[in-house]
């Protein structure tokens, strides 16, 4: 996977400057999303997932990443979009913020893009939630990418989580 190699290269160079402004673009339900590269450890294909009881539906369970156990969440369910069957394009993006590793299941990974700060517009002010996970809208070429706030995504909102319990 070329994107994977690209990320590995970037991470090897390591320092904040080379990672800055670089986003991994992935698709989910026709939309394009971006995640800052510096939060991403790796991208893997879909793995066997063990379901964990008493979890909100978007937490699909845990998976074994070379001996490390990481929780996996489905991005579609996280954003309350319809679930769909996983196929061989489905990827798990392994994110790491504040020493918490989480796998994010997305429809497919597209590319790594550099989006300059001036090309990022703030999300429209809508008080009705929903915008919580989007920290900006990036313009690159003729499409727009919704840029995700990784930290928000991983800080579990407990009230939210409990109310979603079956």
């Amino acid at each position: 996977m070329t994107t994977q190699a690209e990320i590995a290269d970037l991470r090897e160079m390591g320092d904040e400057d080379t990672l800055k402004g670089k986003y991994l673009i992935f698709t989910m339900d026709k939309e394009l999303y971006g995640i800052e590269i510096r939060y991403i450890t790796e991208i893997i294909g879909i793995q066997p997932i063990t379901k964990v009881p008493e979890m909100p539906p978007y937490v699909k369970g845990i998976t074994n990443l070379r001996g490390q156990i990481i929780p996996v969440m489905d991005a579609r369910l996280r954003f309350k979009k319809p679930e769909r069957e996983y196929d061989d394009r489905t990827c798990i993006i392994v994110l790491d913020t504040n020493d918490i590793s989480v796998g994010l299941i997305v429809d497919s990974v597209v590319e790594v893009l550099t989006i300059a700060d001036e090309d990022i517009a703030p999300p429209p002010e809508i008080s009705k939630g929903g915008q919580r996970y989007i920290k900006g809208i990036g313009k690159a070429g003729d499409t727009v990418k919704l840029l995700l706030d990784c930290k928000r995504l991983l800080t579990a909102d407990e009230v939210d989580a409990l109310s979603e319990l079956p």
């Binding site: 009881p53 937490v59 929780p71 579990a156």
Partner: protein, 687 residues
């Protein structure tokens, strides 16, 4: 401190060794105190340890530690040489322990990279005074001793950036020989030079290149380390200055003509001081031909210290290796083939990985003795302060538990022992009135019980009554049900609630009401539990139950529908298939089963975890009777998959932050790389 050369690589070793030496020192002194006299062994041990600490501290430029150790070493050297046995040892021990405390405190600062600002002057003065009193008894040897044990030359620790007046400066020659076997003579010489720099900028030394040149060690050993320098300090002061350095055996100091100094001044004299990295010479052993005096009683250590993180990593890798092995040897692609030599090789591989796993596990096992022995000191200090007489008795200290667990139980142990000494044991007068022996007793015991280790803290003090606890809990608003309905166990468990403290005022040692709930919290973190029993007037017993290891357990794998779960074998009492005649259902729909005359409630795992199972009929699946802390319950599952050792892994913290799943204790990797969830027996029993 900031001297321009990196001491990082040596720093860790220095900290580690010094902390160990301090521990040994405490142990030696406490042992001596028990016999209430100064045995030659104790004296030798203290002398040896102080000597070592002094040497390494001086090398690391921790001057305050070095000078304190030096003073104490002098004191014990005097005692040793004069074979004083009938000295007043109480004060001596106090001094030594206080010094040990001082050094530990400073070591903490070293660890954090802070400046060493502790001033040992008071302690040193105390030690000097003690030495003087001792000498006063034997004035005849006084003169002799002064030379061997020069008074602490404190002044040179002060910033001595004195600008000497050119007039009264004299030139000296100093030839220094280090003690045989002290090793790394060139670095010790370097230390001298470094300190000399504070006194005077004008000096020259032979050999001139002490650090970078390996030959310098031999030169210094054979011919001594010669320094020419110019200073306004007088002879006495200089003598003390040099003799105050670690490991200096012999010193020849004399005034010389100035040209001796100047002769080679063209040589870049300061070169060595700018050398950024220290090159530690190869330590040559055995060619000294002299028995190593420093290691009396110490022996060669065949133990190395390893970073725990590396062990954790090794442990993880081991777990993966086991899985990888299973993937190869039980690969479905070869399962139908008949491969004799492959099977043989695979068997060999399995045997080796098995052995390796055991070894890796055993590396992490540490005896409890270190944590237990620390309590001697605690009890000693407390009994002195509180005016109580307390004996601490240790049993089963050789019991081994996982390294991680040790870290979690030292604090709880300290709290419990403190509580026992402070609140439990009465004063001697009270004890005599109560008809008990004058000396109180605290027993600290450890023993294995299946996959758990029990640690028992028992005192024969005044105990605590149920009524007292209930009243207290009521005052604090901690009671959540009528006191009459509570079982004895429940009442005593109240003690472990946050905010419960039976002591009116917070004492120095305990009683801030935070103690016991810390105990519970720490134990819960490692999956242990704590119980307390007490009889007023007879004493209190606290029992900590901790798992032997966090890492590997004997486990039973079971299946419910498509999900696999794992249970610790030790908590499974029996497994059986239910007979329809034994099943009972109460009006609320609660299902129960009769086993040998006893009724147990049934928990259907597929209902608990909302799974689709193969069997919903209780007579078709399998029943597992689980037991913990005297409570029993039957679990209903589809099938037993088999027994194996599993590596326990914690659930990712992210999941726990979403929902604290009471029914799960962790997870583990099975042979085929899939994940199985480990059931939390305590949690299931509470459901």
């Amino acid at each position: 401190m900031d001297n321009g050369f990196s001491r990082e690589p040596m720093l860790d070793i220095f900290i580690y060794e010094t902390m160990q030496n301090i521990e040994q020192l405490e142990a030696a002194i406490l042992a001596g105190e028990k016999q209430n006299r100064l045995t030659p062994d104790t004296v030798n041990e203290v002398f040896r340890l102080m000597h070592t600490i002094k040497g390494s501290a001086a090398m690391m430029m921790c001057d305050n530690i070095a000078s304190l150790a030096h003073a104490l070493e002098d004191l014990f050297a005097y005692i040793r040489e004069n074979q004083l046995e009938d000295v007043e040892c109480g004060q001596l021990f106090d001094l030594a322990l206080e010094s040990a405390d001082f050094i530990s405190l400073e070591m903490e600062k070293v660890k954090k990279g802070m400046d060493l600002d502790g001033d040992p002057a008071g302690l040193i003065a105390g030690i000097r005074e003690c030495l003087h009193i001792l000498k006063g008894e034997k004035p005849a040897e006084d003169e002799l001793k002064t030379k061997e044990a020069p008074p602490a030359a404190q002044h040179y620790y002060l910033p001595a950036q004195v600008v000497d007046k050119a007039d009264d400066r004299k030139t000296y020659e100093a030839i220094i020989f280090f003690e045989e076997g002290c090793e790394m003579e060139n670095i010790r010489a370097f230390v001298i030079i470094h300190r000399l720099k504070e006194i005077t900028p004008d000096f020259r030394h032979i050999p001139s290149d002490i650090v970078a040149d390996d030959q310098s060690v031999d030169l210094i050993r054979e011919k001594g380390f010669t320094i020419y320098f110019k200073t306004s300090w007088d002879y006495e002061k200089l003598y003390d200055f040099f003799m105050g350095t670690a490991f200096v055996r012999d010193l020849t100091l004399r005034e010389v003509e100035e040209d001796k100094l100047l002769r080679n001044l063209t040589e870049p004299q300061d070169l060595t001081l700018e050398t950024p990295a220290l090159k530690v010479p190869a330590i040559i052993d055995g060619d000294l031909g002299v028995p190593r005096q420093l290691d009396v009683g110490g022996g060669r250590q065949s133990i190395i210290s390893v970073d725990v993180a590396k062990l954790d990593k090794l442990m993880d890798l081991m777990g993966e290796l086991v899985i990888a092995e299973a993937m190869v040897t039980q690969n479905p692609e070869i399962s139908d083939l008949k491969l004799d030599s492959f099977a043989k090789a695979a068997r060999q591989l399995r045997k080796i990985t098995g052995e390796m796993q055991d070894t890796v596990m055993s590396i992490r096992m540490v005896p409890l003795s270190a944590s237990f022995r620390k309590m001697y000191r605690l009890v000693r200090d407390m009994s002195k302060k509180l005016g109580k007489e307390i004996d601490l008795i240790l049993t089963g200290e050789g019991t081994e538990v996982d390294k991680n667990i040790i870290e979690h139980i030292s604090d709880p142990l300290m709290h419990l022992v403190r509580n026992a000494a402070d609140h439990g044991i009465e004063t001697p007068a009270e004890r005599l009135t109560a008809g008990k022996p004058q000396r109180g007793q605290i027993v600290l015991a450890a023993k294995g019980a299946g996959s758990d280790v029990l640690i028992i803290v028992q005192d024969d003090g005044r105990g605590i009554g149920k009524d007292e606890i209930i009243q207290r809990a009521r005052e604090r608003g901690l009671l959540n049900k009528p006191a009459e309905e509570m079982t004895t166990e429940e009442i005593y468990n109240l003690v472990f609630l946050p905010g419960f403290s039976t002591n009116e005022k917070a004492g120095e040692f305990s009683g801030r009401g935070v103690g016991l709930d810390v105990v519970t919290k720490n134990l819960e973190a490692i999956g242990g539990s704590v119980t307390l029993e007490s009889t007023p007037g007879v004493g209190t017993t606290t029992t900590l139950k901790i798992p032997l290891t966090l890492a590997i357990i004997d486990a039973m794998n079971i299946r419910v529908g498509s999900a696999k779960y794992t249970l610790p074998t030790t908590s499974i009492k029996e497994t059986f298939r239910a007979k329809a005649a034994d099943l009972i259902q109460d009006p609320e729909g609660e299902e129960m089963i009769l086993v040998r005359g006893e009724v147990h409630s049934i928990l259907r795992l597929h209902e608990v975890f909302a799974l689709r199972s193969d069997h919903t009929e209780l007579t078709e699946g399998i029943m597992l009777m689980i037991e913990q802390d005297g409570k029993c319950r039957c679990l209903f599952a589809d099938e037993l998959l088999g027994q194996q050792q599993v590596v326990v892994k914690a659930l990712p913290p992210y999941l726990k932050s979403i929902n604290k799943v009471e029914g799960l204790a962790g997870c583990t990797l099975l042979g085929d790389g899939s994940i199985s969830l480990i059931l939390n027996v305590g949690g299931l029993l509470a459901m």
